[in-house]
């Protein structure tokens, strides 16, 4: 059964069977505006919490998306190469950014749940 976590950096993390799918929240995509390019990570890369995994570029600016928990990238959403606007139209669905294998699931305990995140963005 999948469980979804959030970070104060406006990411969502959906965890199922030790694999986390990561994206940015609808609030975040709205703040960024129309995305025109997403720089995706390589599969197989070992990453630590706080690393930059993805750079999302709007018409105006580039923004980093950070790794929320330690692990290894297993897949990037290559559909975004040709259609970066999926992040705008479906931030929590088809606009996911990458999937990763978690190295320490206990790190998830430090993240927000949906109610906590909604409170954060007010």
């Amino acid at each position: 059964m999948a469980k979804t976590y959030f970070t104060s950096d406006h990411e969502w993390i959906r965890v199922e069977g030790g694999i986390a799918t990561v994206g940015i929240t609808d609030y975040a995509q709205e703040q960024l505006g129309d995305l025109v390019f997403v720089e995706l990570p390589e599969a197989g890369r070992a990453v630590k919490k706080g690393d930059t995994a993805v750079v999302v570029e709007s018409v105006k600016a580039a923004s980093d998306v950070y790794v929320p928990v330690d692990g290894e990238i297993v897949e990037a959403n290559t559909a975004l190469s040709s259609e970066p606007a999926l992040v705008n139209s479906a931030a929590t669905g088809d606009g996911w950014l990458w999937k990763m294998k978690l190295s320490d699931e206990s790190q998830l305990d430090g993240l927000l749940d949906e109610a906590g995140y909604n409170k954060l963005i007010g």
Partner: protein, 370 residues
């Protein structure tokens, strides 16, 4: 109170309530809290301007009225401009130069009467410009008056028709001409998008009426500063503080078209000697258009390299061109590389992105010249 990143208080547009009601997102620019985007978003706002008509609140920009028997003489000292030879209602793009021929600000000067000119200057330089003009005016018979106006731009193929239907007669006004159609109004056919359009300075009460009349037309929408920037970049137009600065001269910037030949040769403007020396000696770097390969934008500050990895210059403006459909940028490169088609490379977060020198503008200008 909102503050800019330097902690100083931001100035607020007189029509801020209208932008809030329209759902604008605000951000700091040149000391002002400005509408950056509206709910449509930068991409749609940009395309709407090219297809129909965009309404911009540019009240952060400054209008100076320069009046008196020495008005033209003052402007001919401050700018490489034949101010006294302009026809009535003619507008010219020009600059204030420093003694090194660096660009203090870029401006549009319109001759409204024999001894009466309007100067439109950038928000970020308004204070410097006012001091500069006032100092030069001291031993001349001329008055420099900064005006307190709402300043609106309407840009795009439907701009003229929307203004006419909104009750504003633009008459015979063609591109780069300006008039005072009503008391305390200044209107010129000009803009910063590459499209046909108008800029109108007017009192706040009149501005509220005009905005209501224009927005009643389905073809007219508010457009934010973000789309203003992508529109001007596609149009190859410089942003002062980025593409031109007090350290960059008009020769390097490729803006010599704005300086008439006789003024280059014999004008007595500030910076004339330095400019003539640069014309004679040539410049080391030139401003060019840059077209990155692929979809990844190359932004201001990115360093440029030639095929051998030798430093070749810097990007000064860059982003995505919604009408062009690809990333667009401009910057300065070593003069020998400044030829369209030359391939160079931009360093973006450690990766070398191939970039071709491209002719400007990226989207053709559609000015109404006559």
């Amino acid at each position: 109170m909102s503050q800019d990143p330097h902690g100083t208080e931001l100035r607020h547009l007189p029509l801020e309530d209208l932008h809030k009601a329209a759902g604008a997102k605000f951000g700091a620019f040149a000391g002002w809290s400005m509408p950056l985007t509206y709910p449509a978003g930068v991409m749609k706002e940009h395309l709407h301007t090219r297809e129909q008509a965009g309404l911009f609140d540019i009240s952060h920009m400054k209008l100076f009225e320069v009046s008196g028997p020495d008005a033209a003489a003052l402007l001919e000292r401050a700018c490489p401009l034949a101010a006294g030879s302009l026809e009535l209602s003619q507008s010219k793009y020009t600059f204030f130069l420093n003694e090194q021929a660096g660009i203090i600000d870029d401006l549009i000067v319109t001759r409204l009467g024999p001894n009466h000119h309007m100067v439109v200057a950038n928000a970020g330089n308004a204070t410097i410009d006012e001091v500069h003009l006032t100092v030069l005016a001291q031993d001349r018979s001329v008055t420099v008056s900064p005006l307190d106006r709402v300043f609106l731009a309407i840009q795009g193929p439907a701009a003229w028709d929307a203004l006419s239907r909104g009750g504003i007669e633009t008459g015979m006004l063609t591109f780069m001409h300006g008039i005072e159609p009503r008391s305390d109004w200044f209107m010129s056919r000009s803009g910063y998008t590459g499209e046909d359009g108008f800029e109108i300075g007017l009192p706040e009460a009149d501005a509220r009426e005009l905005v209501a009349a224009l927005l009643a037309d389905d073809r007219v929408q508010w457009i934010g500063l973000a789309a203003r920037d992508s529109l001007r970049l596609e149009a190859g137009l410089c942003l002062h503080g980025q593409d031109i600065t007090p350290d960059i001269d008009p020769v390097s910037a490729g803006l010599m078209w704005a300086i008439p030949k006789d003024i280059r040769a014999a004008g007595a403007f500030i910076g004339a000697d330095a400019l003539r020396a640069k014309i004679a000696a040539g410049v080391a770097q030139k401003r060019v258009g840059l077209k990155p390969e692929g979809r990844q934008p190359v932004r201001a500050g990115a360093l440029l390299f030639d095929a051998d990895g030798t430093p070749a210059g810097t990007v000064t403006s860059g982003g995505f061109g919604p009408s062009a459909g690809h990333p667009v940028a401009m910057g300065y490169v070593t003069a020998t590389l400044a030829k369209p088609g030359t391939r160079i490379f931009a360093d973006v977060r450690g990766t070398k992105i191939p970039v071709d020198i491209a002719p400007l503008p990226f989207t053709p200008h559609r000015y109404r010249k006559g």
